[in-house]
Symmetry: C2
Subunit: 213 residues, 2 copies
DNA sequence: AAAATATTGTCAATGATTTGGCAATATATG
DNA sequence: CATATATTGCCAAATCATTGACAATATTTT
C-alpha cells in the first residue's frame, strides 16, 4: 500500500507530530500549511506534498484540523500500537533510554534489560530488572518482544544481533557503532552518536574556514 | 573554499572513516572504490563522487591508500583539532556521553558538567565535577569551550541555549527534543532520539502492512 | 445567497543527488 | 620496455526531491 514513501518524507513526520502536539497543547484547533510552514521554517508546499503521500487530511479554504492531523500522523507512524522492548547493555546510555518516561507514553513498554556485567545484574531501572545475557535468547523467544535496543560496545554488537535475530526479533534500535547485517525482514534504525558529533565538528571547521579573513 | 558541499555528502564521511579505520586495523594498505563499495554496500561511483568533492585522493590503476585517505577525511571532518566541551544535564544520558572514552580519543575533551539538581552537584564523571547552573555563564565566557552538549528536558533547553549563546558558545550538540533558535554563526547538531524511534516504528508497521496477506 | 477570500491537492518545473560510462593514466605483467 | 589490466576523476544521464503555480472548492463576509 504505502510502499514507496521515501525516507526523506518519513524523517519529517515526527517533527510535524511534535509541532502539532505543541499546537494541541495550546488548544489551537486548525492550522493552514502556510501558518505551519512559518512555525517550522519549511515551505508550505513541502508540508502539503508530504501529507499528500498519505491522502488528503485538509480541507480547502479551512486548512488542517490539528487534532485530526495529529492522530493521522500518529497512525502513519505506527504509534497507535504498543511495542514491548528490551535493552541490551545496562550502562548509562541503556539506563537513560530505559528511564525515559516519554517512550512509555508513546506506547513503548520496557520489558527487560540485559547486561553481562555481574555488578549490574539484579539492579533495577523503573522496576525492570537487569538480567544476565544467558537469559536473553529464551526471553526473546518466548516473550513477545517487538524491539531490541542495543546499547553495548561495537565489539559485542554483531554477535548479540545474531542471537536476537536467531530468536525471532524483528526490529533493532542500534546504538552500537557498527553496521548490523540482518535479514531484510528485520528493521534496523541506527543511532551513531559519534557520526553525529563528527558532523558537528565538520560544520564548526567549515564555518571557521569560510569566515576567516 | 569547500563552501557548498551538501550535508548528504558530509553525513557519509564518518561512515567512510569508520570503514577505513577498520581496514587500517587489519593493516590493509590500499583499497579501490569498488572493493570499498562492496564492503559498505554503496556504489563505487558514489564513493568516488563523494571524495572528489574534496580533491583527488586516489590514483588511477592503484586505488586509494588507506592511511592517507583516513587522515584526509579526518582533516575534512575537523578531527585534527581539539575541542573542549561541556555537558549540561548530568542525568544518565549526560553521564553516558561524558563517560564515553572514544570521544576523548578523537580530541573531544570534557571540561565540565552542569546540572540544577543539588543531589548531582559535586558528583564526578571521569574526574570532572558537576557544577550548579549558576556557574555556567561565567564558565562558558571565560573558559574556551567549543561545544556545549544539551542533555536536559526540552522545557529548559531553549533558555539554556540562550544563556550559552549570550556567553559566546559557537556549537551545540542538542539532545533536547526541541528546535533551538540560534544565530547563524552557532552550529547546532540535533539528536532527536524519539524521532529516531518513531522512524523505527514506522518501518515496523509499514513492513507488516506490506507483508500480510 | 451571492461575492469575496482562503487554502487545499496536484501538476509541472526546477533543483539536487545518484548512477553509469568512459577517457586518461597509473600499475602490473610477460 | 611494450602490452595488458586496473582504476580514478569527471562528465552526462537518470532518478529523486523540492518548489512554485493554479484550478477546484471550501469557508467567510456582506
Amino acid at each position: 500500500m504505502d510502499k514507496d514513501i521515501s525516507q526523506a518524507v518519513i524523517s519529517r513526520l515526527p517533527r510535524y507530530l511534535r509541532y502539532l502536539g505543541e499546537l494541541k497543547d495550546k488548544n489551537v484547533e486548525r492550522i493552514s500549511s502556510s501558518e505551519l510552514s512559518v512555525l517550522m521554517k519549511v515551505t508550505a508546499s513541502q508540508i502539503r506534498q508530504d501529507l499528500n503521500n498519505f491522502g488528503g487530511f485538509g480541507q480547502q479554504g479551512y486548512g488542517y484540523n490539528v487534532d485530526y492531523l495529529y492522530s493521522e500522523i500518529s497512525k502513519i507512524l505506527g504509534l497507535e500500537h504498543q511495542y514491548n522492548f528490551i535493552i541490551i547493555g545496562a550502562g548509562n546510555l541503556g539506563k537513560a533510554l530505559g528511564g525515559y518516561l516519554n517512550f512509555e507514553k508513546r506506547g513503548f513498554i520496557l520489558k527487560g534489560m540485559f547486561d553481562k556485567n555481574p555488578d549490574l545484574i539484579g539492579t533495577q531501572v523503573r522496576g525492570v530488572k537487569v538480567m544476565p545475557m544467558e537469559e536473553l535468547p529464551e526471553f526473546v523467544r518466548s516473550g513477545n518482544i517487538d524491539i531490541a535496543v542495543l546499547t553495548i560496545p561495537k565489539e559485542g554488537a554483531v554477535l548479540v544481533a545474531k542471537i536476537l535475530v536467531d530468536n525471532g526479533i524483528r526490529a533493532i534500535w542500534n546504538f552500537a557503532h557498527v553496521d548490523l547485517d540482518v535479514p531484510e525482514y528485520v528493521q534496523v534504525e541506527n543511532v551513531h552518536l559519534s557520526d553525529s558529533l563528527m558532523k558537528l565538528s565538520y560544520n564548526i571547521s567549515s564555518y571557521n574556514e569560510n569566515h576567516k579573513e
